[in-house]
């Protein structure tokens, strides 16, 4: 998938999460949102397509109609955005055409340095912090040593103290270190225990790694405001989920004390009071409220949150393709072509020929594409019906649409491509995916190799 495609599909997922978050923030386990954010991070960072078998996709749509609607909505929203832009771009495309190579270059010339600058910024501040954190001294304290013994992890965890640090924090993924302020009151064992437990939960959940991934996504998708929103909310939700776990460990009756412990830590913070903003105060308030009003974990809540995560994975996969045709499920492939060289109608391919087409379709990246007017070049209209054992079929359509591409690698070029539409046994269309540009050339090669298709045998 190309970068704008990743960004758009990620943006749709982010919008869905924002919606779920708005409705379910106080109702669902907080871990739900962290899990949902990880699905988005995977979508934003992995340029691969998730392959879900067609049967799973169709089954999911059949059983949960709402899911199908969400998936279509997601695809239409993103696809619609792309096409809307294409139409607008097409209107001005004439004069643009001449400037295209330059435009493509501009896209890359703008994106690359900013992405690199962001990465350097993140890395350098991380390295700065790490250099500072490494000068921390071991904590020589009976309580800390006992606590460590009671909380073994496979990774070696250390507790250290650092002068000048005002709130506890953890750094390191493989060899995590809990850093405590030098003036930590170890006599107040309750407070110390809350703090250590909070950091311990972060360590166990590899939250440091998650933050790194979120930062990476931000560097790559810096142009996408929704990814910035994700970055902020992801970091916030990590804390909320962590609080939730800590309270579950200590028991609900401890939440007041835990909330007060957090407030006390805020009080002791000495960070520069230059930029006091209501924003941070509001965040803190929300966090305290979330702790006090935490609901008991219920099976229903857990079930809903699992379902949500699964649904989002499906949506992410829906967008990114589900584009594989399972060769084992295919019974026959018939081709119709208006191409003057090989005019055929419902010509059934040999097993080798069908395998060739299926392999070809599976080998190239696909993206979801909402249905639309299918226009083919008169003499290049080739389509195939790929029948499945379950009574459904795929319709493969070579050459679809033309327009103005936003793909930076093909910026502004005619946007023709090939489509595969999924049909169930009743002939209802499921999702449609379009095949990557590179598919084109490969298909033509394959098509040429099929010369015997010509019924009159007069190829050449």
């Amino acid at each position: 998938m190309s970068l704008p495609q990743l960004s758009l599909s990620g943006a749709v997922l982010i919008l869905i999460i924002l919606l779920v978050r708005a409705v379910g923030m106080d109702r669902l386990p907080k871990g739900t949102f962290v899990a949902l954010w990880y699905v988005v991070l995977a979508r934003l960072l992995l340029p691969v397509t998730f392959q879900l078998p067609a049967s799973v996709c169709l089954l999911a749509r059949e059983r949960v109609p709402a899911l199908g609607a969400v998936m279509d909505g997601a695809a239409a929203l993103t696809g619609g955005t792309l096409e809307g832009l294409s139409v607008r771009a097409a209107a001005v495309s004439e004069p643009l055409m001449d400037a295209l190579p330059a435009l493509t270059a501009v896209v890359w010339i703008v994106w690359t340095p900013i992405a690199i600058a962001m990465a350097v910024l993140f890395l350098s501040s991380w390295l700065d912090c790490r250099r500072e954190f490494r000068t921390a001294l071991p904590v020589e304290n009976g309580f800390a040593a006992r606590w460590l013994r009671e909380h073994p992890l496979r990774r070696k965890v250390e507790i250290r103290q650092l002068a000048g640090l005002s709130t506890p924090l953890t750094y390191g993924v493989l060899r995590p270190v809990i850093l405590m302020p030098k003036d930590t009151d170890w006599e107040n064992e309750r407070q110390a225990e809350y703090t250590l437990c909070h950091e311990y939960v972060h360590i166990r959940r590899f939250d440091a790694l998650g933050k790194g991934l979120a930062a990476a996504a931000l560097c790559v998708h810096w142009f996408d405001p929704l990814v910035w929103v994700m970055y902020v909310l992801f970091n916030r939700d990590l804390e909320l989920a962590c609080d939730e776990r800590v309270i579950r460990r200590f028991g609900a009756e401890d939440r007041k004390d835990y909330a007060l412990a957090l407030i006390r830590m805020e009080e002791q913070r000495r960070e520069f009071p230059l930029f006091i903003s209501r924003f941070s105060a509001r965040t803190a308030e929300r966090r305290i409220r979330a702790i006090l009003h935490m609901k008991k974990a219920t099976r229903a809540g857990l079930a809903v949150s699992c379902a949500l995560v699964a649904a989002l994975v499906l949506c992410g996969a829906a967008w990114s393709g589900m584009g594989s045709v399972d060769p084992a499920s295919v019974t026959s492939v018939s081709v119709t072509s208006g191409y003057t060289r090989f005019p055929v109608e419902n010509h059934v391919l040999t097993p080798e020929q069908s395998d060739g087409l299926i392999r070809l379709i599976n080998a190239y990246p696909k993206t979801a594409c909402p249905g639309g007017e299918r226009m083919a070049h008169d003499d290049l209209d080739v389509w195939a019906r790929i029948d499945r054992r379950d009574g459904g079929y795929y319709q493969f359509h070579y050459m679809y649409c033309s327009g103005f591409s936003l793909d930076p690698l093909h910026f502004g070029e005619d946007d023709y491509y090939s489509l595969v539409t999924l049909y169930d046994a009743d002939g209802n269309a499921g999702l449609t995916w379009k095949l990557d540009y590179a598919f084109d050339g490969a298909f033509i090669d394959w098509w040429w190799a099929l010369q015997p298709l010509d019924p009159a045998g007069q190829a050449g």
Binding site: C129, R131, A163, S166, A284, E285, I288
Partner: protein, 123 residues
């Protein structure tokens, strides 16, 4: 003259006060065993002590010499770290983005009031 060093810098000085002049390498070896610092960390701290005029390093062999006696050093009450890590660095931007800022007394009071109100409502 009064010298203010943070605890980790004093830890470096301790090696010199205890063992007399030593190479940076030796200090690093000692501290690796004592507090688990790697070479870079110890060198960073030695450099900071040099910058504060607490250590003089002489060629050859990067021999370190304590310029101040133990009695003259005070442990710094420091915000230095915060300045160093956050101030002017990129971390600042992201800290701001994540709302990691100090709350005012009034805001802290509000937080406490939320807890009090909640408690009243519970009872």
């Amino acid at each position: 003259m009064e010298h203010r060093l943070v605890d980790s810098e004093i830890r470096v000085m301790n090696v010199l006060w205890r063992e007399g002049d030593a190479t940076a390498k030796h200090i690093s070896d000692v501290l690796k065993a004592e507090v688990g610092w790697n070479m870079n960390t110890t060198y960073t701290l030695i450099k900071r002590c040099i910058g504060k005029g607490a250590i003089r390093r002489s060629e050859p062999g990067f021999l370190c010499h304590a310029l101040v006696p133990k009695e003259e050093v005070q442990e710094a009450e420091t915000n230095e770290l915060i300045d160093k890590v956050y101030d002017g660095s990129a971390a600042n931007l992201f800290a701001a983005l994540l709302g990691r800022k100090k709350l005012t007394a009034g805001q802290i009071e509000r937080l406490k009031k939320i807890v009090d109100d909640w408690e009243e409502a519970e009872q």
